[in-house]
Subunit: 388 residues, 2 copies
């Protein structure tokens, strides 16, 4: 068996959302199809993925380096010992040839997206949902039938009133969510605290609300927010500052008692190791939110989990970024703390299977082979056309 | 005055070199032309740059995001208060719009290359060499007429004998260099030590020789090399390990007395701050080798120097990576420790002005306006065609 082609295309997100730090009006994502010669139901099996939201499309790197390296390799060197399926680790190693140390984000998003598409193909060829394949390989076969899922919402938009924000949160609760997240840092502290108190009236208590500053704050403001937020005992305070400012993160961890969170802007296992070693992050309390398709993919995510385990971090402290079917499969397969959801946001690139149900803060899993994009009509239309 | 166009093209390096970690056979670089409407000698003034060696071309990011953002801006918002020249800081800020925190290398190389090309135009419009413009703005006008310059050489190549390596080093000394660097880590430790001892016989003493492991070593091997290299009291031991493994760098600094060096694979001021804060790097002893065009450009480099100064680091500890006319101008303008040189390597993209002279370990500066690419016939041909 072999990969016969890999195609990619860049799609604009067409989002008008903004957080405290930037807006998404120019945002694009790369959709990838890894097309194999394995036939199922009269069709070639293809694996799909996209590079999540928040980082721009990376098709140029795929076209110039990673796709040619895979297609140039002897197909026999890219399959597993059974000979019947692809070996994601071998394909990853092929993509990493002639890559210099460091400089991760320049390639980790392109490589990770292709690698996750390979896993989609691997699971389809095995005839299993990806979450089951991952559970068998990386979690002793333990598989939940549902996964904790929270809403990444509470965005700023022009003309928004506090009642608008409360209405949004009520919709999330009515939809079955029990934990919601809102943005902070887009307004002065006093105004943000008023927004927060209004949302707390809707959700009931701090453990049902997280806040996200999207790396906005320098030291003084980060400390001011930490002091102001502390009494609310929120579920977590996400990305208070520059994601690489480990000294400031450690200082915040020393004065802010409730959980902190970060990780969606870390692209290598080494950066995450630096976070837990130098950033003061507290095993068992704080939250790490790596986005696997943006950080070299699932095989590297497994290595990051091993490194974290060696530092006494439980998997339940991991909530992968992304709000999509890839992160959901990974959260289920590895037995993580939960997944994020962006209801009604990012169009076809946010959300899960069309028949997924949210109940009491959890989301159901499907039995579709692979990641399960086939259950997302809008997104799968784009993917199917790419592989056609 | 305004920027009328920005063009880029990707050029293959066509190098067959290899270090301990990877080879350059697929390597490309992006050449950029920033074309202004300022007329000199009947021609539009253009600024040029390229993204140094070791990171792949980054034209896709330029075309998709950075060039359109600059060209979409009101030209009046991109010029300095005199109205007669471009303001690199304003152009940098325009490129950074809608960019998410972290993830530096995905954009820092594209942004830095354009920013350095803007500085080339700024200096040409001012009618001065770039090193003079930088000295006036960032170093109280202090300007050397020559700059320390060492050879980054001693590569591995197939069939190479120890005598070949000695002959290479003799050629460097005969050419006027007094400090040379050789690769380590491409052979077993014992073989590498034999190579090293052979080179020491040619150069005379350890303070005239540096070694570069190109991030090859994991902990055990890094410590073994540190122990073996320590007695030679080399000028420096470069990139012993992963550039982001600050814990291992700190451990090495605790057991290895002579200078360590790293930095060419750090792309943000925050990463460099983490190096000096957590990596055990010793102010006044160790060496930092950021590549400015790959790390957001000259304005960001100035901020990194300020951060380092606040941590008691002298400018003489900085040797910018690159081995080209850009790094030389920056080393001269900021008053750094010196510049790197790759004689006969990387074709048109390694080396300095054709009329530059090496004497007693220093290189002469030219009075050509701008960076001085006009003095490099082979390289300038590529640039002139791009701007035509």
């Amino acid at each position: 068996m072999r990969i016969v082609n890999i195609r990619e295309t860049a799609i604009p997100l067409k989002s008008k959302l903004a957080n405290s730090s930037f807006d998404f009006t120019e945002m694009t994502t790369s959709v990838v199809a890894v097309i194999t010669d394995v036939m199922q139901d009269g069709k070639q099996v293809s694996g799909f993925a996209f590079n999540s939201t928040g980082r721009y499309a990376c098709g140029a790197q795929m076209r110039a380096r990673f796709i040619p390296r895979i297609l140039a390799a002897d197909p026999a060197t890219l399959i597993d010992t059974s000979g019947a399926n692809l070996d994601p680790a071998k394909i990853f190693a092929q993509m990493m040839r002639r890559e210099k140390a460091g400089g991760h984000s320049e390639r980790s998003i392109a490589i990770g997206t292709i690698e996750v598409a390979v896993w989609d193909a691997v699971a389809k060829i095995a005839g299993k949902p990806l979450h089951r394949v991952l559970a068998e390989r990386f979690n002793s076969g333990k598989l939940p039938d549902k996964v904790s899922c929270y809403v990444g919402g509470g965005w700023y938009w022009p003309g928004q009133t506090i009642k608008d924000l409360q209405d949004e949160m009520r919709r999330h609760l009515d939809a079955g969510y029990t934990l919601v997240k809102m943005k902070v840092g887009g307004l002065p502290l006093d105004d943000d605290v008023r927004r927060l108190e209004a949302v707390l009236k809707v959700v009931g208590s701090g453990d049902r609300l997280a806040v996200d500053a999207n790396c906005k704050f320098a030291r003084a403001e980060a400390l001011a927010y930490a002091k102001a937020l502390s009494p609310f005992k929120l579920r977590w305070f996400e990305e208070p500052c520059d994601p690489l400012d480990f000294a400031l993160l450690a200082e915040l961890a020393s004065v802010y008692e409730p959980p902190l969170a970060t990780g969606e802007n870390l692209y290598s296992t080494q950066d995450v190791e630096n976070l837990v070693r130098f950033g003061g992050f507290r095993a068992g309390r704080d939250i790490i939110q790596i986005d696997p398709p943006q950080a070299y993919g699932i095989g590297q995510y497994a290595r990051t989990i091993d490194m974290l385990a060696a530092n006494a971090w439980p998997r339940t402290s991991l909530f992968p970024h992304g709000g999509n079917q890839m992160s959901l499969s990974i959260a289920a397969g590895f037995g993580l703390g939960g997944a994020e959801s962006y209801p009604g946001v990012f169009g076809d690139f946010g959300g899960f299977a069309d028949d997924a149900r949210i109940e009491n803060g959890t989301i159901t899993l499907s039995d579709r082979p692979g990641i399960g994009f086939e259950g997302q009509a809008g997104l799968y239309k784009i993917m199917r056309e790419l592989a056609a």
